[in-house]
């Protein structure tokens, strides 16, 4: 277990200025105050020497910038060159230089201190400027001051760059010249306090094709070098100390991003209808409202899974009904979505920041979490249920209960849902007259009693990630077991097929919202089972639609039948892979699928 698992997960929202997903360790880039000493010159005769030292640092800084400019000119980076020009002109700015010299002379202080005072003075001046762009240029003065200070100290810094870690640079802002000080081959992303789409960081990141989120206000203060973070340049989010499930989801998103091609986007807006006219509803899995725009761009018809855990973890105290409601209303109220499926809290109580003494569980995956936790903490649960009801007045809403393993649990959850409905009606609050209720099918026991659960709910949603891990008894966090994690395991296929068949016999819909739903290799297998809805990461949607539109249910059924006849996972995989490669030669190449 990595030490990060004991750290609290939190999410910062900024502006995604360069798309992609980066997962790595934080390196806090050069905070101004580090290792700088401020002192008074104890003898006025030292003043000329100090001024000379300052001028030497200016010269050295200018020389370095000119060198950097020369090197950048050799590379394809051209756009940010003028920024270095600006920095050189600041170094030569008489007002800037004289002000600093005046401080050294009058206050009899060392050059470092004087530079710091000059910077502070410019901060005051720039703060008064109304134009936000100009006001932001204080970052240039800051950058230049930083460079002078590091030259005054005379030391060349070498820190985290020596390690093998993939590095995400966290800074106030990153100028093109900074990148030369970094070992860029180790840098995989940027996250900064300052800036918008036109900030230095944005320009640099897009130029280097690295994910970046800017405008995070205070990330430099809340993370430390060595923290694990995720930079989601698509949605403009930074996740600090992600918990294992979230980390896995982002690993998936990262892979999907690198596999996604623009040419697939032309399939985004088309319906997922097979050549023999079978329509599969395509949903998107999200956990932040910020992800909705990309969901729609990539062709989601609905939100098939809205994870609500974030509302609980990103705060000091428990979320109020209003906190929930404000999030749900935005999801549900998005036009272009046919419906939104909101899943109730799916983690354990240890994820609450407010929980001072979380119970240590040896096996949290099988612990007191999800519906089990909610049925114990009824008031926390009802707060969420009320908010979901209230949101339902703003657009079609479905509710989904996770980790159901018995009929009692679903009945108990429904009872509480009904109680909250009555309470809201009594208060005269506007809510929907009918909300579909669903059960997640992810515990093997739920598969076995699916016929009984089907009588209790309007739809099932198969969570393949957990279903696979529970039925094959593999801890997904255990890297030594990854080779056993196999969606095409004959047992897994049988479990899924049986859920779909039972649901359809009982006349209810079946969705799938696990990773398998967005895995192109499995698409025809799932078509063959006639799933009603596949919900996935937005990046996977266009490609899955393409495959569905170029296939038939008829062939898929045949493929499924053959796949089910094999005895081993590897036989199934080889067969399915060969089949898919035969039919979609561009999609499935050797080795990668």
């Amino acid at each position: 277990m990595s030490p990060d698992q004991t750290k609290k997960t939190f999410v910062l929202k900024g502006v995604g200025v360069s798309p992609g997903v980066a997962i790595g360790r934080v390196y806090c880039f050069d905070p101004l105050d580090s290792q700088i000493s401020f002192y008074k010159l104890n003898d006025a005769s030292l003043i000329p020497k100090e001024i000379l030292r300052f001028k030497k640092a200016l010269k050295e800084s200018e020389y370095q910038l000119l060198e950097i400019q020369k090197n950048l000119k050799k590379t394809k980076v051209t756009e940010p060159l003028y920024v270095i020009d600006v920095h050189i002109l600041i170094l030569r700015d008489k007002k800037f230089v004289n002000r600093t010299i005046k401080y050294i002379r009058r206050l009899e202080i060392n050059a470092e201190w004087a530079v710091r005072l000059t910077l502070d003075r410019y901060k005051q001046i720039f703060e008064k400027v109304e134009d936000t762009y100009i006001r932001g240029r204080i970052s240039d003065v800051q950058y230049v001051s930083q460079r002078i200070l590091s030259n005054l100290s005379g030391e060349k810094k070498e820190t985290i760059w020596g390690t093998d870690e993939k590095i995400i640079v966290v800074a106030q802002d990153i100028s093109p010249a900074n990148t030369v000080q970094m070992k860029m081959e180790k840098v995989i992303g940027f996250a900064t306090d300052a800036g918008g789409r036109t900030s230095h960081t944005a320009i640099v990141a897009r130029d280097m094709e690295l994910p970046a989120v800017v405008g995070l206000d205070n990330i430099t203060r809340v993370v430390r070098t060595g923290d694990e973070i995720i930079v989601d340049g698509i949605s403009g989010l930074v996740v600090v100390n992600p918990y294992p499930e979230m980390l896995q989801r982002y690993e998936e998103k990262k892979l999907l991003y690198s596999a996604a091609k623009d040419e697939y986007l032309k399939y985004a807006k088309l319906p997922a209808v097979t050549l023999d006219n079978y329509h599969v509803h395509i949903g998107c899995n999200i956990e932040f409202i910020e992800e909705i725009p990309s969901a729609i761009v990539h062709g989601a018809e609905c939100i098939g899974l809205y994870r609500t855990e974030f509302i609980y973890i990103n705060r000091q105290d428990l979320p109020t009904e209003e906190d929930h409601f404000n999030n749900y209303r935005q999801v549900v109220g998005t036009k272009d979505l046919r419906w939104s499926t909101i899943r109730t809290f799916d983690l354990g109580g240890d994820k609450f920041s407010s929980n001072q003494k979380p119970l240590k569980e040896l096996n949290p995956q099988m612990g007191l979490r999800a519906i089990r936790f909610c049925l114990k903490e009824v008031e926390i649960f009802k707060t969420q249920l009320r908010a979901i009801w209230r949101a339902s007045a703003f657009g079609k809403t479905k509710i989904l209960f996770p980790m159901i393993s018995s009929v009692e649990e679903i009945r108990e959850a429904k009872k509480l849902l009904e109680e909250t409905r009555q309470e809201l009606l009594a208060q005269g609050i506007n809510i929907t007259s009918e909300m579909e209720i669903g059960a997640m099918i992810e515990v093997p026991a739920a598969v076995v009693i699916a016929d009984k659960l089907a009588r209790e709910v309007d739809f099932f949603s198969i969570g393949t990630n957990d279903l696979i891990q529970y039925s094959l008894a593999i801890d997904r966090a255990n890297e030594r077991l990854t080779y056993l994690y196999e969606p095409l395991h004959p047992a897994v296929l049988r479990l899924i097929k049986s859920v779909v068949d039972i649901a359809h016999e009982a006349n209810i819909r079946v969705a799938m919202c696990g990773e398998m739903a967005g895995d192109p290799l499995c698409t025809l297998i799932l078509l063959g089972m006639e799933l009603d809805e596949l919900s996935m990461n937005h990046l996977a949607i266009p490609r899955i639609k393409k495959i569905i539109r170029e296939s038939t249910v008829k062939e898929s059924k045949l493929l499924l039948e053959n796949a089910l006849s094999f005895n081993t996972s590897s036989e199934v995989r080889t067969y399915v892979h060969d089949y898919m490669r035969g039919h979609f030669p561009d999609e499935f190449q050797n080795g990668d699928d």
Binding site: Y82, V86, D93, F96, D131, Y133, I134, D140
Partner: protein
């Protein structure tokens, strides 16, 4: 010799960093002292930080003053620069 001219900024972003840098680079080529006035504030035409903090927007009016032996050429060149929107496309 003193030359004074009042000009309007036509480039999209106003007197932003790149424009200011170009202005300073031209101003530095002359012996004349160069001053810019905008909204009652005066900036040294050779100080990029001075010019930036004037925060002159697109459409804003600048009064440029050049004092010295080559004041006329200086102001001609600076006017050209502003008219050409600082060489921006």
């Amino acid at each position: 010799m003193t030359e004074i001219r009042t000009l309007k900024l036509k480039n999209k972003l106003g007197m932003h960093a790149r424009a200011a840098a170009n202005f300073v680079k031209v101003a530095q080529q002359f012996k004349a002292g160069i001053y810019i006035e905008h909204n009652g504030q005066t900036a040294d035409g050779r100080s990029i930080l001075d010019i930036l903090t004037l925060a002159c927007p697109n459409g804003g009016t600048l009064t440029i003053k050049a004092e010295g032996i080559d004041a006329f050429t200086a102001i001609e060149e600076l006017e050209k620069l502003i008219e050409n929107k600082f060489g921006e496309s």
